[in-house]
């Protein structure tokens, strides 16, 4: 991973950087305000991150919510939700390691749960997350926040809060890098664009 703050934004050898660290920060701040606006306050809000990077994003969103309203207790309102055992593609792939599920101290019963993921693609991860959530309790409402929506949905799921809509080709790969997880500056990178670039210039 050679991408760092010193490099120009689009010289990353692993792909094109479409969002830099400040873009990610601004997007998260906006999403946090939208969440508060939509929920009319922070009273019943609980954030659940989907591993790996959704957990980090949920934590960052929670810190922003606490800045907006100091009554929001970050530690009691953020959890993580592992969806591995609810996936519908387990049999098509090598065995996945099961991750940690940790519910926030505030619980999810009758709360407004905001699921947080990094990239929204087919929507199947979110479908699995909804199933997992149903086994854990009955939230009053479930919302979905994602940093990047790249399209190509395969199930009827739509996000409530989006950092950036990113039109992509099916064969491209969108990677979110976060300082806490990847030890590089925050970035959203599109890789595998070589053949897609040709298509774009032809358009």
């Amino acid at each position: 991973m050679s991408s760092g703050p010193a490099l120009p934004a689009d010289s990353d050898p692993d792909g094109t950087t479409v969002l830099g660290a400040s873009d990610v920060a601004r997007a998260l701040t906006r999403i946090a305000h939208e969440i508060v606006e939509r929920a009319r306050g922070v009273d019943d809000l609980v954030l659940l991150g989907i591993p790996t990077r959704g957990v980090t994003l949920a934590r960052r969103l929670a810190e922003r919510l606490a800045q907006i309203d100091p009554a929001f207790d970050v530690d009691a309102r953020v959890g993580e939700l592992d969806v591995t055992m609810y996936r519908d593609d387990l049999r098509r792939q090598p065995t996945r390691a099961v991750g940690v599920t940790r519910l926030p101290a505030a619980g999810i019963e009758n709360r407004t749960v905001v699921l947080v993921d990094d990239v929204l693609f087919s929507g199947r991860t979110i479908r699995a997350a909804l199933d997992a959530l149903g086994d854990l309790g009955r939230p009053r409402a479930v919302r979905l926040a994602c940093l990047v929506d790249r399209g190509h949905r395969e199930v009827p799921i739509r996000p409530d809060f989006v950092g950036k809509n990113l039109p992509t080709a099916q064969n491209e790969r969108v990677r979110v890098r976060l300082a806490e997880v990847d030890d590089v500056a925050d970035a959203v990178v599109i890789a595998g664009r070589d053949d897609a670039a040709g298509k774009e210039s032809a358009r």
């Binding site: 049999r91 090598p94 065995t95 099961v98 940690v100 599920t101």
Partner: protein
């Protein structure tokens, strides 16, 4: 991993990974809804040629908690009692579309035969074969030891609670009793060694198997000396398997009372254990023979917890063997 036949086949990474998966499975078992949809539509056959209560029920519970269909097949009351061979039984199971077969057999090596003879393409889990191996029992023992003692070992790698990510290096485990007839002891010696723990077998000379010198462990005939000088962190009492002692070989010790005096865990020996030490038993217990009621019911005993951990470990084994397609290409979405 395609089959789980012997703990000697597991690498350290596989073993730690299995225990970590078991920790996540255990976390789901404290929920109100314990059932997971992971293995929906798949079939697990419990093939038991030997009597068992807790292992069969534990495997059945584990499979059901993962939403698999369970078919119980015991030798008594089946066509096996009419003389059907293992091969024909396996071909029947194949025709019925079993995805995994949990097998317990009185003959050592029967699960290996089932897995490698080409009779079935299902995953085979050894639930105890003869005097050879009982891998899920050893895994649940290791899981229990790690939960209680990982913080004391030098292999502390995990940041989570319950020793997730850690191995057992630096810990000392004494395995006491009928080692000769015990598949639990054999499975544990191999696994605990892989995970980095030191093992001492304590047994009367008549109940120590031939060739034990080649095993990766120490042996002792003196329980008191082992407890006082070696200071084990965990003491695992083995059941005296009287049903295997009735053959032509005669008796292995002069009297139950003498066995109990020299090798039983009683209140006196319990008091000499370190404060943090735990007492384990694979069950079923012969109270008053290898373990006294005081020891079995003391705060140090984790025997009931071992049973609960057995479900989580077996869920992890079923998940790892059945959920993925080992032939599928990696996909990073």
């Amino acid at each position: 991993m395609k089959h789980l036949l012997s703990t000697a086949d597991l690498s350290k990474e596989e073993a730690v990974g299995l225990l970590d998966t078991a920790a996540q499975m255990a976390a789901t078992q404290s929920r109100e809804i314990k059932k997971l949809p992971t293995l929906r539509g798949r079939t697990v056959v419990n093939l038991f040629f030997e009597d068992s209560t807790r292992t069969r029920i534990s495997f059945e519970t584990a499979a059901k908690r993962l939403s698999a269909d369970v078919i119980n097949f015991s030798a008594k009351g089946s066509s096996v009692s009419k003389g059907e061979s293992l091969k024909d039984t396996a071909l029947t199971l194949h025709a019925m579309g079993a995805d995994a077969v949990v097998v317990r057999h009185w003959a050592s090596g029967a699960p290996y035969q089932l897995a490698h003879a080409g009779w079935l393409d299902a995953a085979v889990l050894n639930a105890g074969d003869g005097m050879h191996m009982h891998p899920t029992q050893a895994l649940l023992d290791a899981y229990t030891i790690r939960r209680h003692l990982a913080a004391r070992g030098s292999g502390l790698a995990g940041d989570g609670g319950d020793g997730v990510g850690a191995d057992l290096s630096g810990l000392r485990v004494a395995i006491v009793g009928d080692v000769l007839h015990s598949r639990v002891a054999r499975a544990n010696v191999a696994l605990l060694r892989t995970l980095g723990a030191e093992v001492t077998l304590v047994a009367p000379p008549t109940l120590v198997p031939v060739g034990v010198g080649a095993w990766p462990c120490r042996t002792s005939y003196d329980l008191d000396a082992t407890l006082d000088e070696w200071r084990p962190d965990a003491v695992m009492m083995l059941r005296v398997q009287r049903e295997r002692m009735s053959g032509g070989s005669g008796s292995f010790f002069p009297s139950p009372l003498e066995y109990s005096r020299y090798y039983g865990l009683d209140a006196r020996r319990l008091a000499r254990l370190a404060d943090h030490a735990i007492v384990m038993h694979p069950g079923p217990m012969n109270r008053g023979l290898e373990i006294s009621a005081e020891a079995a019911d003391s705060d140090k005993a984790v025997i009931v917890e071992q049973v609960a951990n057995g479900i989580a470990v077996r869920m992890a084994a079923l998940y790892l063997l059945m959920a993925g397609d080992s032939s599928a290409e990696g996909n990073d979405l």
